[in-house]
Every structure is written in structure tokens, then in C-alpha cells.
Amino acid sequence: MVSVINTVDTSHEDMIHDAQMDYYGTRLATCSSDRSVKIFDVRNGGQILIADLRGHEGPVWQVAWAHPMYGNILASCSYDRKIIVWKEENGTWEKTYEYTGHDSSVNSVCWAPHDYGLILACGSSDGAISLLSYTGDGQWEIKKISNAHTIGCNAVSWAPAVVPGSLIDQPSGQKPNYIKRFASGGCDNLIKIWKEEDGQWKEEQKLEAHSDWVRDVAWAPSIGLPTSTIASCSQDGRVFIWTCDDASGNSWSPKLLHKFNDVVWHVSWSITANILAVSGGDNKVTLWKESVDGLWVCISDVNKGQGAVSAITEGQQNEQ
């Protein structure tokens, strides 16, 4: 069952482009073409406007909450080429950092797993991806991947923090040796996987299957299995599930989840990584789940936040 438990009237004056809950699922951040970012307390079915953040000079495309260990921090990106990091201090939300180093619209922001420190990846229409790392004392360090995607990068998504080998093997007192990776999707129809090596970001993989702009990529949360999974969706109406079984991260194989009749804008994994939510230009939200025999099955059509959930029956095809 998908049932509405809260309907938040955002009072945005133009199209809403993103809505994200914080780590605990108690606060909702929204952003809109009306250039504002709003934060609501939505605990227990209520909706209290906590903040109406003004600072962008264009449509705000995406918002992203940082992990609570860094305090209450929200990043937003806009067509105005800026990335703003907002922070709550004594109950008031203020701009704590602004990055203006992109030459075009910044379309996507995503915080790295909290284990790495406070790092924000940002994808822009200028084709570059920037990585903003908080180095302490109000300072941020910028790394930039230019020409990551010709014509533009539409989405970035971090891989979950996985340490090669077991955590137990890590010598105590030392920072675990994480392999940092993230995926990006762009107007060159490609998905790229980036890996940090000796402090430098390098293109590790190029995933080709889409025939038009990649609109969104979502790296699935880790559920303790060695398999990595990425979902991607595109202007071409296709949604692919990419999986990689080997630890070196070299062999990715795509599986077509479905071909929709319209552009697919968003893909989002559930926290437990077993359900994929897909939102398309036909204003339909569908939920998908993998059956035992490896087929992706649509288990729900969500309309205005409501819908039934069907169980996966054997031999069911991914008809939709």
C-alpha cells in the first residue's frame, strides 16, 4: 500500500523541482523555479515552515541534506550557476558557503557518505563536476573535473561507503582506507563512474546504453552484499539497472527495467535498496522490485501519493 500520510502545501509560486527529507525523515526541503528553498517540519503529520531561504537568482533544481553529524546542513544548486550550503545556527538558517565556480546551470548536488567527511559533488551544464570538501574552520577545498560530460552533467550520485576487506581488519586508530566512487549522468547519454586515486578523480567506467540524455542516476545503498547497483533513467524513456559483481568495479552490466513512453526524470532507491521509485514525464510514479528470478516488476502505480501494491507473482513480466 502507498497511502498519503501528509500533504504539504509548499506555497511555492512556481514549479517544484525537488523535495527531499532529512536523515531522520522529519524535515522536508523543497526547491522551486520561484528561486526559493523551503524547509518544513513534517513530524507527526504536521507542516511547519521552518525556513524560506532566498539567495538563488534562478530556479533551484535540487536540494541535498548532509548527515546530521555535521549539524543541520542543506545544499542547493540552481540555474544561477551557484551552489549554496545552508546551515542552521541557533534555530536560524543561514548561508554558510557559496560556490560560484561553474559556468552554467548546476543541476545536481549529492553529499558523499558521511564517513568521508563533508564532501559535496555537483554536476553542471558546463560539463564539469565539482567536489567541495569541508576542510575545517569554515574552509572548503574545491576539486573540479572539467569535461566530465559534454553539454552537461544532469545527475550525480555517490557509491555507499565500502571498505575493501572487512572493517574488523582495519588497524584501530587509523582512518579506514575507503575507495571513493560516484556516478554521474549527462547529456552525452553516458553514465560515468569516477574513482578517487591519490587524491585525484579519475574516470573509471563509461556506461553506455541510453540513446538520449541521462536524466538521473542513483547508486543503491549498500545492503552488505558485494554487488554494486546503479539505476539510471533517460530522456529516451528507458530505465536501466546496472550491476557490478566484482570488487574491482570493472564489469558493469545493464538490465532494462522498462521503456516508458515519456522522459523519465527521477529514480530513487528505498533505504533498504529493494524498491526503486521512478518518476516520469507522464506524471506517473511507479515502484519497482526485483523478483526472485531477477526480473524487475512494477508493484505499484502511485497517483497523487496513493496507490496499491501488488505482490510479485511468479513468472510475472515487467509489463507496464
Partner: protein, 842 residues
């Protein structure tokens, strides 16, 4: 920014939006000559591959053509999948219209030209494919000639109506984007005519009567059926007029920005608020025609650009063909031009250096080489965010199985005008209904403490024998006299056994007369009578001796002492001198075990034990090992050496004899053997041993080893058992809940996070132990606690399981704890996973 470039003096056209990959076709321009003065004509198709960051276009097809071109268009008409790339139509001099199969050109096929007609007069400058019926092609040339061609029957064209008078050239034809039978034509005189093909006549003529409009281009509004734009090539009137046929007396508005005549326009199909124009002032502008504002300008070109075209498939890309002999592809999304410009400049220079067309030993002067731009030219992107970047809908998951959705509502009456919804829906997603139902049952049972009923219902519902056994064990474990009942479960009921023995021995024979060799299990069962758990007395030497004493006293009548030299004699003699050890030795050697034992009893505790050992060493019968173990109370041996097939019997022995303090350990040992040595079913039977011993962790471990627990219901199967066992131990022993081992921790954490993912936050919380060193559990507790919002009342929040990092300048001396309205915790535990992380607080 510039994306691609190619040096061609050519007219150009993009492949249709449906085509992938994206191609750009070029045909040698009829209006220009380059420095080679060659009049050869070529049709080329280039692949525009944006995956490749270089500026090169890859030539994918080349075809010599008989005529040079005034106009190229590309439609998606095709016959079947083998012809999927569509048709390119080229308008040439002398009224020539040629149709090319794009697929044939791309594959260097044998019949690239699929049609060629010379019906028109003069150069064919105006061409357009109907966007609804891709087989319909409109063409226009001199003398007001407009033809409509059907590609399915490309022989005789039709006309949209009588020729307009006075006769003049046709500079553009264009099909309406909304109404398929409406066509318009534009003329250098500044007039435009709208034709209705159903009526076969012109239905309206538009002209601003200024006589200064000189139509170079025309385009219908991509979405509004009655609007079109006309561009004027006249330097005195370098404008773009927007007309609405509903008020056709004068233009709706006029876009004024170019300083010299407008050469071409292109209306973006993906966003009607974007209109491109190029003019003789060397500029390329993008307008928002609705408000008449220039929202993008490409830095001044070195030359006129005579044709601009949006890429139909990739909306942020357009191509521009200029008189300097280059076709460039740009993005309107801004970016730097520097690097690319330099490469082009270099190429141009070098190409001219090699060129000596007149053979005079002189190179051409670098007339048209653009300035070498050293500094970066930043081109700002479109001032107005293009429609294709405006994500209209979205979905995201949040903790607790929440789904956030937002988007447009579709008003069915006016689909075009979608109203942006201000609402964001937060929904609860529940996918595992059966799991939740079972979880609730378990939760109720655990809370009420009524576990017996719960087990009973599970026993009744069990489909597998093993499952039923497990629940029986779990249930019996909680009952009084659990050991006896467990024995019964193993198939050894004391009462039934007694009956069997009795019938075996015949009626009236007293119980004590049966022999040790009798059914080992009878032996095992009997002594337990009367003393449920503490059976230590029964098997001891003293009670055995009593038993043999009575035997002896009954059978001996007269005493005769032999002193012969045979064994009997020797024994007698040994006894006479009190050498019990010797006598026993002799008896043993003569296989007179009974005698040996009897003598040994008299000889004392030590001798008896030695004799027992010798006996067991010598006598190998089927049950001697069992006897040995029981007599010597060596349960460990039983457990370690028993055949695994008879693990039930071994467990029965433990149930009957073993002391409470070693019972659990022995059960575990048996379980461990079953797990490590047993195969298949046996290995999972170990679970029963662990239930008997109350070892929750081992039970979980064994279960996980033998069962898949990744699916919610399978996990529920496991959790039901371990929670019932764990709770029953808690109740029986009155102890607090045992601390979780690693396997159990993992499973319970998974279980709790699964519950949380279905929105059952309170239930999830109840499974997570309060005091756990496990970081995962602490993290989950923290998250679940705060996710419950105010329903947690004034309960003390769990400690925050992460090391806090202060973000922001040091000048804010406030500790993060005060500033945060987030669910706050006093404790700040340094988590082992972030050992090197130092709080950056001042």
C-alpha cells in the same frame, strides 16, 4: 560553447528527433564557392557524438551528387526498419528535387537516390516535411510554385491551390505544427500565405504593408496553432515579426535587435520560448519571443551565418553554417570557448598556408581568419532556464518507508497548460503485508508474555516436520518438567518404555532382575524415575553394587574354597590373601567379567573403576560404549563420539543424566558436532540442541547457515524463533535479556531496519537492545528514535552515535549541541568507525 566543427561550404540539416545517433547532413552549397572554385557536389552525413569531447565530426556517409544544394531537409519517412534513418530531401538549381535514403548513404548502399524530379522552375529553396504525415513534402521555387509531394508516390505532385499573383519566388514553406493540413509560404516581398490543403486554396495572406520586409525565414509556433514568425533579410528592417492569424492585420510583436538583415531563424521545438536567429550583423541571437528579449548571444562571428538550426534531438544544441566555410555546433548552456577557438584558428591558418589555388607561389592572404583569442571567452548560458531543464515531477524515498512525490496535475481539458502543483505528498509505502502481520503477532506475544499459545499456534500452522519440531521444542522449553517432555519429543516416553520393557521380560519378573545388556534406552530411562533432573546418584558405583549384591545373595548356596592351580584356584588363593587386584586380573583374563566386577567392588573404589575401564576396553558390544559412558558418567564422550545418526539418543542421554550446569554446554557440543560433521538435514537439526540449551546466538547462527534469511518472511521465520527462545529464557531464568552475539545482532538489526522500512518504527525500536556496543544498532536506534517524532514523548533519546563535526567559521564559538535543534543527545561517543575524525569545534 562550441562542441563540434567541420570545414564545409555547405547547407546543413539535422537528423530527425527520433534518430539515434544524431547525424548532421551537409550538401555542397549552391550559393557559394570556396577558394577551390570546385563545383562538384557532395552529400555527407556526419555523426555528432557528444561522448567524444573532441571537436571532430565523424563522417559516416558520403555521396557525390549531381547538383549542388540550396536546401536540405531530413524526414523520418522510411519503409521498415532497414530504412530507419529516414529520407533526406535536397533542393537544387534548375528545379531539381532529389530524395536520398539516409540509410543507403550511411551504409554506402547501391541505391542512395530514391527519387529525382525536375518539376520546379529555378532553384528549390523552400522545403518542409509534414510532421504528422512524414510522407508529405512541400517544396517551393520560383514563380510562386509550391508542390506537395507524396513520398509513397513520388511522380506527380499536387499544388496547395492556384499560384499566388503576382508570381514571385518562394523563400520558405512550412507546415503548421498543430493542424496537419495547414501550410504556409513566405516570399521575398514580405508576404506570407497560409494554405488549407483540404480546401486547396490560400486562406489568408499576411503582410505588414511596409514593403520593407524581405522574408528570409518563416516558422510556425511549436505549440500555438495560429502563430508564426517571419524574419526579414532587409538591412533597413532587420526584424523578426510575430504574427497571430487571429489578428492578421499587423504583427503581434516585432523582435528588434539585429542591426542588419536576418538570414535565418529556427524555433526550438522543445521550448517555444527559444527562437534562434542569425543575421548579417554576424550575430547569432536567441530570443524569448513571448517577451521579445534576447536571452543568449553567441560572441560575434567573423562571418555571416546563413543558417542556424536547433538540433531536434538534443535541445540545448544548435548548428550554424557560415559563409566562411565552417559549420559549427554550439551549446546554449554556456561555457568556455577559448580552447576550441584556438584549435579552429590554428586549423584555418594551416589550411590556408597550404593553399595555393592559383599556382602563383603565393598563399592567400589570411582574410577570414578569426582573431587568435588568447583569453577565455566565457559565454553565459541562456538567461531563461530552458524548459527541458525544468524537472516537472519528482520522487524520492526517505527513512521509514516514506515516499515523497510531487508534480504537475494534468488538466484533461487543456493538456498544454499544466498547472504546477504546490503540494508535496508524503506517503507511507508498505510492501510486506504478510511480514507485517506476522511481525505484529510476534510483537503481541512477546509483549503479553503469552508465548505458549503463540508456540501452539505455530505448531498447528507448521507445514514442515522440522518446523513443527522446532516449535515443539521451543514450547516445551518453557513448560515445567521440560526435560521429560523433551525426551518425549525425542520419542522416549518413560511410561511407554516401561510398558515395552515389561512386556519384553514377561509378567511378574521384578524390575531389578533385568540385565545391563537390556535395551540401553531402558537403562537410560529408568533411573530417571523419581529424580527429574538430578540423576547423578543413579548411575554411581554404590547403587550398582547394591544391585549386584542382591544377585549374589540369591544365587550362592554353599561356600566351597578351591585352591587348585587352575584359574579358579588362583583366584581363590588371591582372595585368601586379600589380593583383590590379582584376583580381578585373573577373572578378567578368563573373561569372567561378572566375577571380576564383584571382586572389584569388594576391592574398593579405585579397583572398581579400573576394572570397569578394563571391562569396557575388552568387551566390545553394540551398547558397551553407551554403558561405559553412563557408568563412568562420561557424557562428553557420548556427545563427542556418538554416531550422528543417533544424535537424538545422545540428546536423550543428556536430558536424562547430565547435571544442570553442564547440560547446556553439552547440548551445544552436540549441536556443534551436528553442524560441523553432519550433512543436510542433520546440520539443521542442531537447532533443536541449541533450543534445548537455550543458546540463542548459536540457534541464530545455525539457522542462518541452513536457511536463507534475505527475504522478509524468511527473516521473520528466524526472528520468531530466536525472540521466543530469548524471551522464554528471560522469563524462566528471570535474567535480563541476554546480550546479542554477532550473528544475532546482524539479524536483529536487519529485522529492525526492515520493520523501519515499512514504517513500523516503534516495533523496530523494541527489537534494538538499549545497551549495545554495536555501532550499527546504536545508529539505527538513534535514527528510529528521532524518526518517530513527538510520539516518543519525553523519553530520553539514545546517545548520538557519531562524532560531531562543526561546520562553519571558528568565530562561532557555540558548541554544535546548542545550535542544533535536531534531536540532540548529550553523549558524544567517539565511534570506532571514525577514529581519526577530530571534532573541529573551537
Amino acid at each position: 560553447m562550441k562542441l563540434k566543427e567541420i570545414e564545409r561550404t555547405a547547407v546543413q540539416v539535422w537528423s530527425p528527433a527520433s534518430n539515434h545517433p544524431i547525424y548532421l547532413a551537409t550538401g555542397t552549397s549552391a550559393q557559394q564557392l570556396d577558394a577551390s572554385f570546385s563545383t562538384n557536389a557532395t552529400l555527407e552525413i556526419f555523426e555528432i557524438d557528444f561522448r567524444d569531447p573532441s571537436l571532430d565530426m565523424k563522417c559516416r556517409g558520403i555521396l557525390p551528387a549531381s547538383n549542388r544544394f540550396h536546401k536540405l531537409i531530413w524526414g523520418s519517412f522510411g519503409n521498415g526498419p532497414s530504412d530507419s534513418s529516414g529520407v533526406i530531401a535536397g533542393g537544387g538549381d534548375n528545379g531539381v528535387l532529389t530524395l536520398f535514403s539516409a540509410t543507403q548513404v550511411l551504409t554506402s548502399g547501391t541505391e542512395p537516390v530514391i527519387g529525382r524530379r525536375e518539376m520546379h522552375t529555378g532553384p528549390v529553396r523552400a522545403l518542409d516535411f509534414n510532421s504528422f504525415q512524414c510522407n508529405l513534402l512541400a517544396s517551393g521555387a520560383n514563380s510562386s510554385e509550391i508542390y506537395i509531394w507524396d513520398l509513397n508516390n513520388f511522380s506527380v505532385p499536387m499544388t496547395p491551390g492556384a499560384k499566388s499573383q503576382p508570381q514571385e519566388d518562394i523563400s520558405a514553406v512550412s507546415w503548421n505544427r498543430q493542424v496537419q493540413h495547414i501550410l504556409s509560404s513566405a516570399h521575398p516581398s514580405g508576404k506570407a500565405i497560409v494554405w488549407d490543403l483540404r480546401k486547396n486554396e490560400p486562406i489568408i495572406k499576411i503582410s505588414d504593408h511596409s514593403n520593407r520586409m524581405h522574408c528570409s525565414g518563416m516558422a510556425w509556433h511549436p505549440e500555438v496553432a495560429t502563430q508564426l514568425v517571419l524574419s526579414s533579410e532587409d538591412d533597413r528592417m532587420p526584424v523578426i515579426q510575430i504574427w497571430d492569424l487571429r489578428f492578421a492585420t499587423s504583427p503581434l510583436s516585432q523582435l528588434e535587435g539585429h542591426t542588419r538583415g536576418v538570414l535565418s531563424i529556427s524555433w526550438c521545438q522543445a521550448d517555444p520560448e527559444l527562437l534562434l536567429s542569425s543575421a548579417k550583423d554576424n550575430r547569432i541571437l536567441c530570443w524569448n519571443p513571448c517577451i521579445g528579449e534576447v536571452i543568449y548571444e553567441l560572441p560575434t562571428q567573423s562571418q555571416w551565418c546563413f543558417d542556424v538550426q536547433w538540433c531536434p534531438r538534443n535541445p540545448s544544441v544548435f548548428s550554424a553554417a557560415s559563409f566562411d566555410g565552417w559549420i559549427n555546433v554550439y551549446s546554449v548552456m554556456g561555457g568556455s570557448l577559448a580552447a576550441q577557438q584556438k584549435t579552429q584558428a590554428d586549423k584555418i591558418s594551416s589550411s590556408f598556408n597550404n593553399l595555393d589555388p592559383f599556382g602563383m607561389g603565393q598563399t592567400l592572404p589570411p582574410l577570414q581568419v578569426p582573431e587568435q583569442v588568447a583569453q577565455t571567452t566565457l559565454v553565459p548560458p541562456l538567461k531563461k532556464p530552458p524548459k527541458w531543464l525544468r524537472r516537472p515531477v519528482g520522487v524520492s524515498f526517505a527513512f521509514g518507508g516514506k515516499l515523497i512525490t510531487f508534480g504537475l496535475t494534468k488538466a484533461p481539458a487543456q493538456q498544454m497548460q499544466q498547472i504546477p502543483l504546490r503540494q508535496v505528498f508524503i506517503s507511507q509505502v508498505v510492501t510486506e503485508t504478510e511480514f507485517l502481520a506476522r511481525s505484529r503477532e510476534l510483537q503481541t506475544a512477546l509483549q503479553s508474555g503469552n508465548l505458549l499459545d503463540y508456540c501452539q499456534s505455530k505448531i498447528q500452522a507448521a507445514q514442515l516436520q522440522f518446523e513443527e519440531n522446532l516449535w515443539n521444542f521451543l514450547k516445551v522449553n518453557m513448560e515445567s518438567e521440560s526435560r521429560t517432555k523433551l525426551l518425549k519429543l525425542l520419542g522416549y516416553s518413560k511410561e511407554e518404555l516401561q510398558k515395552k520393557i515389561t512386556s519384553c521380560l514377561g509378567n511378574g519378573i521384578p524390575e531389578k532382575q533385568h540385565f545391563p545388556e537390556a535395551d540401553g534406552l531402558a537403562r537410560a530411562a529408568q533411573p530417571a524415575q523419581g529424580s527429574k533432573c538430578s540423576v547423578t546418584e543413579v548411575g554411581t558405583a554404590s547403587s550398582s553394587s547394591g544391585f549386584f549384591d542382591s544377585l549374589v545373595s540369591q544365587d550362592m548356596s554353599t561356600l566351597e574354597i578351591l585352591v587348585t592351580t587352575d584359574t579358579d584356584g588362583l583366584i581363590s588363593q588371591a582372595l585368601l590373601v586379600g589380593n583383590f587386584a590379582g584376583a580381578v586380573e585373573l577373572c578378567m583374563r578368563a573373561d569372567r567379567f561378572a566375577d571380576a566386577i564383584i571382586l572389584a567392588i569388594a576391592g574398593g573404589e579405585t579397583l572398581l573403576r579400573e576394572t570397569q575401564m578394563q571391562y569396557f576396553a575388552k568387551r566390545k558390544t553394540k551398547i558397551s560404549q553407551l554403558l561405559s559412558s553412563i557408568v563412568q558418567q562420561n557424557w562428553r564422550d557420548v556427545i563427542c563420539t556418538c554416531d550422528l545418526q543417533s544424535w537424538k539418543e545422545a540428546l536423550a542421554i543428556l536430558l536424562t543424566y547430565s547435571r544442570q550446569e553442564e547440560y547446556a554446554q553439552l547440548c551445544d557440543m552436540l549441536g556443534a558436532r551436528l553442524e560441523s560433521e553432519g550433512e543436510g538435514v542433520l546440520s539443521s537439526e542442531a537447532c533443536l540442541c541449541y533450543i534445548s540449551s537455550g543458546n540463542v546466538e548459536r540457534l541464530a547462527k545455525c539457522w542462518v547457515k541452513n536457511h536463507e534469511t534475505s527475504s522478509p518472511l524468511a527473516l521473520q521465520d528466524l526472528v520468531e524463533k530466536v525472540m521466543v527462545l530469548s524471551r522464554s529464557i528471560e522469563m524462566l531464568r528471570g535474567s535480563t535479556r541476554p546480550t546479542l552475539g554477532p550473528v544475532l545482532t546482524e539479524q536483529v538489526t536487519q529485522y529492525a531496519s526492515l520493520l523501519a522500512s515499512q514504517g513500523c518504527l516503534a516495533a523496530a525500536m523494541s527489537y534494538l537492545p538499549h545497551s549495545s556496543d554495536e555501532l550499527l544498532i546504536q545508529q539505527l536506534r538513534d535514527r528510529v528514535f528521532h524518526a518517530q517524532g513527538e510520539s516518543m514523548g519525553n523519553q530520553q533519546p539514545p546517545p548520538f552515535p557519531y562524532a560531531r563535526v562543526h561546520v562553519g567559521p571558528v568565530s562561532h564559538p557555540l558548541p554544535a549541541a546548542k545550535s542544533s535543534s535536531a534531536p540532540e543527545a548529550s553523549a558524544r561517543r567517539q565511534s570506532p568507525r571514525h577514529p581519526a575524525k577530530v571534532s573541529l569545534k573551537a
